[in-house]
């Protein structure tokens, strides 16, 4: 009897787990028609982003939560988390920090609709964090980039309802900028695009 109870419990747990899997939480990679190594620009909340750093690719993956949004003390920190393909095990986070009027919940993010941010302005900060792994050693670097020119464009910010219930905000946009690194060596993030779903799991406001 105990054996049957155990089997039924395990089966119930298994099926309840698979039902809780949400299509909206996954990263969906729709290849770009021109450069299929980049995701296409979409506005569906596919939780995908991609950009070229010179000739290497910075891309979202399914094993990393691709976006976090933190609002604190009048600054919005919009972070894209993914892998940088110059070396296989480099995890990279690109964070845009910019001032924003007060928001308290993810649904307020729709105010970003069709907003442009000139990244070379002094009140905007762009940070790159890299964590690399080589032969069981972790190397972490964090750089505040000296932006020469470039724009972050939230092309569309929308609220998504599923079956008439509020589900998440979707931020879709593009970015492209040139910068000098700590050694004054120039580099270029180009063809950047993102399509992110933001809900209570990845939105933080303090």
């Amino acid at each position: 009897m105990k054996k049957y109870f155990l089997i039924i419990t395990i089966a119930a747990l298994f099926f309840s787990c698979s039902k809780s899997e949400s299509q909206m939480d996954k990263t969906i990679f729709i290849p770009d028609e021109i450069d299929p190594k980049l995701p296409a620009y979409t506005e569906w909340g596919y939780n995908a982003f991609g950009a070229k750093l010179d000739r290497q690719y910075f891309l979202s993956t399914n094993d990393l939560l691709p976006c976090k949004v933190l609002y604190k003390e009048g600054l919005l920190r919009f972070s894209l988390i993914g892998r940088y393909t110059s070396t296989e095990n480099t995890r990279m986070t690109l964070t845009f920090c910019f001032p924003l009027e007060h928001i308290s919940q993810f649904s307020d993010l729709v105010i970003l609709n069709d907003k442009n941010y000139e990244l070379s302005l002094s009140n905007i900060i762009v940070i790159v964090n890299k964590i690399g792994y080589t032969s069981q050693t972790q190397h972490e670097t964090t750089d505040t980039l000296n932006i020469v020119e470039g724009i972050l464009h939230f092309r569309r910010a929308q609220m998504l309802n599923i079956d008439d219930e509020q589900n998440r905000a979707i931020l879709s946009g593009t970015f492209d900028f040139k910068y000098l690194d700590n050694n004054d060596f120039p580099a270029h993030f180009s063809d950047g695009r993102f399509d992110m779903g933001i809900n209570n799991d990845n939105f933080y406001a303090y």
Partner: protein
């Protein structure tokens, strides 16, 4: 009256030129699914430098859709001579198409207004299509004699009109039906209202044409019109495959006859 000639006997064989006919069969094709832009993609193989470019597959379902229509019809036939006969009639066809998600449900973009987008969860779509068609056929027998089993070829044209279509949207949340059912049905593409096919076929007649008899044939319908939708979910393909059986009932006084000899 048999005639005695040497050691052989000559016979005269007669059969009616006209016969009433009924047909039953199915037509099947491995079609291509219609791309529905309202469906949110739900799977992908994202880029990983360790893999190759073949992993860029994405889509909400395999892009293949098996499509089958069953049919029954009324098709009288008339023999022009011993080798050729013509037939025309009416054919009623039916198809049931179900479009399932490869996951538990589709997310269907039902509305997009300003800064708000509405999805609904849909288990599947089901569509019933009813057609009325006119087959025009020319049958070619390879031999003159009406043997019990007789081989033939056939060619023809088939004109087909959609006379009825009904679609059911199965929502995950049944409360959404009243609000969105009509809107989603309007977003679906309509199946094509008219189609034309050329047919080539081969078959076997079974039974003498003096009595009720039948035949069974395989057909290869060739679509004559491009960019057709067999249903809201599947594109028509250039070629398909059909199997048809006929039952004939000879009628009328007009007859064809031929002589043949048998050994005494």
């Amino acid at each position: 009256m048999p005639l005695v000639l040497m050691s052989q006997v000559e016979h005269t064989y007669e059969y009616p030129r006209f016969r009433w006919g009924a047909e039953f069969g199915f037509e099947t094709t491995a079609g291509k699914a219609v791309d529905m832009p309202q469906i949110r993609q739900n799977k992908s193989a994202y880029y990983n430098p360790a893999y190759n470019d073949d992993l860029y597959y994405c889509g909400y379902m395999f892009n293949r859709y098996d499509y089958t229509r069953v049919f029954a019809g009324f098709k009288p036939e008339y023999s022009l001579n011993h080798y050729f006969s013509v037939a025309a009639g009416l054919r009623f066809m039916y198809n049931n198409s179900v479009f399932n998600s490869d996951r538990q449900y589709f997310l269907w973009k039902v509305a997009e207004v300003s800064q708000t987008t509405d999805y609904v969860r849909i288990n599947n779509f089901e569509q019933n299509n009813f057609y009325l068609g006119i087959p025009l056929e020319l049958k070619i027998f390879t031999s003159k004699r009406d043997l019990r089993v007789r081989h033939y070829f056939k060619t023809g044209l088939f004109f087909n009109a959609l006379v009825g279509s009904s679609t059911k949207v199965n929502f995950v949340n049944s409360e959404m039906e009243n609000k969105y059912d009509d809107k989603i049905k309007r977003q679906l593409q309509k199946p094509s209202g008219f189609s034309a096919q050329a047919i080539i076929a081969m078959g076997l007649k079974i039974g003498r044409m003096t009595n009720p008899f039948g035949d069974i044939e395989i057909q290869m319908p060739i679509n004559l019109m491009e960019n057709q939708l067999a249903s809201s979910f599947v594109h028509s393909t250039p070629l398909s495959f059909a199997m048809v059986a006929h039952i004939y009932l000879p009628a009328g006084k007009e007859k064809l006859s031929y002589n043949y000899r048998t050994k005494r």
